[in-house]
């Protein structure tokens, strides 16, 4: 780790002003990504601004929106009664991620900003990584890729966005509330992440110094069922090979509302709107589910190590749709 200065911010304004004024400064919240990458030598800030004691913690229901303070931990959010009652797939995604220890540390804001697990990105001795050193290429494509993206990927970058939580949150059209040196703004989570394109180093729309203060989660209509299915090699404590977050509202034998997002496959948390369009208005059943899965996985970018994920992701989504709808045949 390079030497850095540690500064504990007294309030949000001071934190934002401090980081905004220092191009080499970073926020420190749960630390589970930040410190890990600093130890690896991938991140080398000269100053860490500790925000963990700022009053950005807690979950408040405001009408049909759940406002989640950015410093709420994953464990705290999973324990929230509204989440348990109205957002089962958010709770499941939280509890299927990481370990209890990490969930006690990791914050919701930090979770959304977690960096890819790509070992080519995380090892500074690898010369070619467009995300870490723009213009150098992508060593993962010809390398040992497996835990990599097949959607939104290109020859420039196949790094996966590995958040579980972000999957249901993009499905729900969550809103990210941000404070920067120039004031506050709100960004739909579906617009928050940037596809790598030819600038994989730019992962989201935040400008330096902007701080996530809260995430607003719209509650789905009463009666909506949801579920998060995560497929991985180990039974626990592993990132997803594929995952699917699904919320369905059924009425009179027809799907009246569908929210679908995929994890483990996208360079960003992957909202599958085409799949939703197919499901909406259709009777739940194998035909609609397969059609939705086919639509969700259209035009994948694969390398030999990730090719299997295309079919696996389709089946993962089909299984999730079956489970959530209760319609198995």
């Amino acid at each position: 780790m390079r030497e850095f200065a540690y500064f504990r911010a007294a309030d949000v304004g001071q934190a934002v002003a401090t980081v905004a004024a220092d191009p080499e400064a970073s926020y420190l919240a749960g630390g589970t990504t930040q410190l890990d990458l600093m130890k690896d030598g991938v991140l080398e800030p000269d100053q860490l601004v500790d925000i963990t004691r700022l009053p950005l913690r807690g979950v408040v229901r405001e009408g049909d929106t759940l406002r989640v303070g950015a410093l709420t931990t994953m464990e705290e959010l999973a324990a929230d009664p509204t989440v348990a009652g109205r957002l089962p797939f958010v709770r499941e995604a939280l509890l299927l991620g990481a370990s209890v220890q990490l969930r006690n540390m990791a914050t919701i804001g930090g979770n959304l900003l977690q960096r890819t697990r790509c070992r080519y990105f995380r090892d500074p001795t690898v010369p070619a990584c467009n995300k870490r050193r723009p213009g150098t290429g992508c060593a993962a494509i010809a390398g040992a890729a497996r835990m990599h993206a097949i959607l939104g990927a290109s020859e420039h970058c196949i790094a996966l966005h590995a958040s579980d939580l972000a999957v249901p949150l993009v499905a729900l059209d969550a809103i990210v509330r941000v404070r920067g040196a120039d004031g506050e703004r709100s960004i739909p989570l579906t617009d928050f992440y940037l596809l790598p394109g030819d600038t994989p180093d730019r992962e989201n729309v935040l400008v330096h110094g902007e701080l996530i203060t809260a995430v607003d989660v719209p509650l789905p209509a009463e009666g909506t069922r949801s579920g998060y299915l995560k497929v991985r090699d180990r039974a626990s404590y592993e990132f997803a090979l594929t995952s699917a977050g699904v919320a369905l509202l059924l009425d009179g034998g027809v799907i009246v509302e569908a929210r679908v997002a995929l994890g483990g496959v996208g360079t960003v948390p992957w909202r599958a709107r085409e799949a939703e369009d197919i499901l909406r208005g259709a009777p739940p059943g194998p035909a609609a589910f397969r059609a939705a899965a086919e639509a969700a996985l259209r035009d994948p970018f694969t390398v030999p190590g990730t090719a299997f994920k295309v079919e696996l992701a389709k089946r993962t989504l089909e299984r999730a749709l079956r489970t959530v709808s209760g319609v198995t045949s």
């Binding site: 697990r117 080519y120 090699d233």
Partner: protein, 735 residues
């Protein structure tokens, strides 16, 4: 003195004597030691797999805060080479500019704090002149080493028998590279005082570390002391003296300060060995009624340039079944990879996977139950030598295991058993593990207060050596266990062998047996000096030991206490040494047997998503005399978890072009977690082995063996899909 006939102390499940130390955090591992004046070392590793260091810029590191020294091949002292015997020491680090594998050390930085050392290490710039590395086990340019251990065997006429067989099974299998990954980061703390050197080191073989350091630094062995009271696992990784150990001692000598080095987890993937990948080919011939007529087993494994490694895989097929025609051939391929090395059940783990999968394939082809097929080809004598086994209860393993598992409920047709959406599969494997034992010495002392201290310079890597030797010594000296202390992990004690090859319990137990007998004899001699002693004229066979007393057999009142004998003679204590050297099979007229075992596994397969889980494992093990059933069971359970890792998760992946290990963290290299592991049923069968005086056979490794085959066989039974490569991951299983 008759012993172990009606044991009081050995056998039952005694709690670990070091348990309270371990659960309170008081047990001190090598990296828990420190020194007030200590400096810290950090390593710099090569980022090419072959070539030369062309340029080194150490200026920024040398001028970084707190840095005391930077050693590279340009300024490192030249050292002698270490021992080249069994499990050779790698060549001296920093000897020249050549790079032979990705991750080889090119520099070591010493600084006043660990943070500063590792930060400065990052500032060293290394320019390379790369060469094209040899990285692929199939690369025709790579050097091949046929029969590297002289273990190849051939009897009968295998080719002709295969031609004549009613049924032939022929298949190729692969096993992945695995990395030992003991949880304890390997660490060394070295302190010089003139030519004397004290080292705390994560090792399974302290006497080898001492000999190696003395030889490489050219100092007297008597002046080198190696300490390892506890070690955070090894699984074979601690069987060699790796370059980081040498570099730490070198750094301490150069800076004149004690130096501590704690490896990083990524360094643990390149610096302390790994289980080699194998490619194996097997052909089995049989009659229609399931008699084996031929086995031809060929294996190729990897070895580092300038490395060595003992990994006999095909050899597994020479000890398992009665078969008139057998050919086994192993070879190694030299590649620009980090050193391959023993990892729990080297060779056996991979060879058994192939043989026991192929037997399962044969059983399916013949329509004979897999258990029945194994029983029909039971090896009543050692297949290769024809000698009788020193013990063998494999048949009981099969019987007890099958009964406890409920093997008879297995419906033979693949894919025929279900539970909900999950396919259910039953699979099994048999194991005939190899035998190994090295010479060992121990010393036993009884003091005036009637307590005993027994010791040997070995290690307890978690197997329970502290505990079982305490029990054994208590038994042999007739003392309660709380009156006995067993010491280890210090080379000032009598030399002992490595904790490896499942051989320590037999070697050390035999030495402790000898030392305790010699000590009782010494007490008899001391007592005999007094003609009035009730023990006068007795020799060992005339006496028994109980309750801290030596007395005539059958006459407990006619004896003397240890304390009494010492007091009478004015002695503080009496000590005696013991050593053990195994006989040869020819001397003994029998084939020394390792442990045997049978594994029965139930798996669940989610056919749609390729998910696999192990629902039940039943193991029946012939481990000879079991000194402590609780700890022996833990060894089998732990080995089984390792076997599940090999079967389902573990795969050290390298970049095809560079040889960089692409998953060198515990987040990326998957080992089993708690949720992957079901409850397990373990039974011990058989009785004392005839080859060593205490009748034991080591059980440290057998627990891992057979799991890969049993799981693969169960997957076949569940799905009809034969998977011949481990690990069996979702992408391989997706139907």
């Amino acid at each position: 003195m008759t012993i172990l006939e009606r044991p009081r102390h050995v056998g039952p499940g005694v709690d670990r004597v070091d348990g309270p130390q371990k659960v309170t955090g008081a047990a001190r591992y090598p990296n828990d030691f420190s020194h007030p004046d200590m400096a810290h070392a950090a390593l710099v590793r090569a980022t090419i797999a072959a070539g030369r260091v062309a340029r080194l810029d150490t200026g920024a590191a040398e001028s970084a805060p707190g840095v005391l020294a930077v050693l590279t091949h340009l300024n490192a002292p030249r050292l002698a080479t270490g021992p080249s015997a069994l499990l050779a020491t790698p060549p001296p680090p920093l000897r020249d500019d050549r790079i032979l594998y990705y991750g080889q050390y090119v520099a070591v930085v010493v600084a006043d704090t660990p943070e500063r050392a590792s930060a400065a290490a990052r500032r060293i710039e290394v320019g390379y002149e790369p060469a094209e590395p040899l990285l692929d086990i199939h690369d025709p340019r790579a050097e091949r080493l046929p029969d590297p251990w002289g273990s190849d065997a051939s009897w009968g006429d295998t080719r002709a028998a295969l031609d004549d067989a009613h049924v032939v099974i022929e298949a190729s299998y692969t096993t992945a590279e695995n990395t030992n990954n003991p949880l304890g980061l390997f660490s060394t703390l070295a302190e010089w005082d003139g030519d004397t050197l004290t080292v705390h080191d994560s090792t399974q073989w302290p006497t080898r570390v001492r000999a190696t350091l003395a030889q490489m630094f050219g100092v007297p062995e008597a002046g080198v002391r190696v300490l390892v009271l506890y070690v955070g696992g090894g699984f074979g990784a601690g069987l060699r003296v790796w370059p980081h150990v040498i570099l730490t001692a070198m750094a301490a000598r150069q800076t004149g300060r004690p130096v501590k080095l704690v490896m990083t987890r990524p360094e643990m993937f390149t610096g302390i060995g790994h289980r080699p990948a194998t490619v194996q080919h097997i052909r089995i011939g049989a009659t229609r009624d399931g008699r084996l007529t031929a086995i031809e087993h060929e294996s190729r494994s990897t070895v580092a340039i300038e490395g060595d490694n003992i990994e006999p895989c095909a050899t597994v097929s020479t000890a398992a079944y009665a078969c008139p025609n057998v050919t086994a051939h192993d070879e190694q391929v030299r590649l620009n990879i980090p050193w391959t090395n023993s990892m729990r059940a080297p060779g056996e783990a991979q060879g058994n996977f192939v043989l026991e999968s192929a037997i399962d394939e044969l059983s399916h082809a013949l329509g004979i139950d897999p258990l029945e097929l194994r029983l029909r080809n039971y090896a009543e004598v050692h297949p290769r030598s024809g000698l009788p086994w020193s013990s063998k209860a494999l048949r009981e393993c099969y019987e007890v295991g099958a009964e406890r598992f409920g093997w008879s409920r297995r419906v033979p047709e693949p894919g025929s058993m279900r539970e909900g959406d999950w396919l259910v599969g039953y699979g099994m494997a048999g194991i005939s593990y190899f035998w190994y034992q090295a010479p060992c010495q121990a010393r036993a002392t009884v003091r005036g207060d009637g307590t005993a201290y027994v010791r040997s310079a070995v290690t307890d890597i978690g197997t329970g050596t502290y505990t079982i030797m305490t029990q054994l010594a208590a038994e042999l000296l007739g003392l309660e266990q709380d009156r006995v202390t067993f010491g280890l992990g210090d080379t000032s004690m009598p030399p002992g062998p490595q904790a490896g090859g499942s051989g320590l319990t037999a070697a050390l137990g035999s030495a402790v047996h000898a030392a305790c007998r010699n000590l009782v004899r010494a007490f008899l001699d001391a007592a005999a000096a007094d003609p009035a002693s009730p023990l006068a004229g007795c020799d060992l066979d005339d006496v028994a030991v109980t309750g801290g007393r030596v007395h005539r057999v059958g006459e407990p009142e006619r004896g003397e206490s240890y304390a009494g004998i010492l007091a009478m003679r004015g002695l503080d204590e009496l000590s005696a040494d013991g050593d053990s050297t195994p006989r040869t099979p020819q001397e003994a007229g029998m084939a020394p047997a390792g442990p045997f075992g049978a594994r029965f596994v139930e798996v669940r397969v989610d056919p749609e998503l390729g998910r696999l889980s192990v629902a039940r494992v039943v193991s029946a093990i012939d481990g000879g005399r079991i000194l402590n059933e609780k700890l022996a069971r833990s060894q089998i359970i732990g080995g089984t978890v390792g076997g599940i890792g090999m079967a389902m998760f573990e795969d050290t992946v390298s970049d095809p072009g560079t040889g960089r290990i692409a998953n060198a963290t515990l987040g990326d290299y998957l080992v089993p977690v708690n949720a992957d592991i079901p409850d397990m049923d373990v039974s011990f069968v058989g009785g004392p082995d005839a080859f060593n005086p205490i009748g034991v056979k080591g059980v440290g490794e057998i627990g891992l063996v057979g799991m890969a085959a049993a799981i693969a066989n169960a997957v076949f039974h569940a799905t009809g899909k034969r998977i011949r490569s481990v690990p069996i991951t979702i992408d391989r299983l997706l139907l």
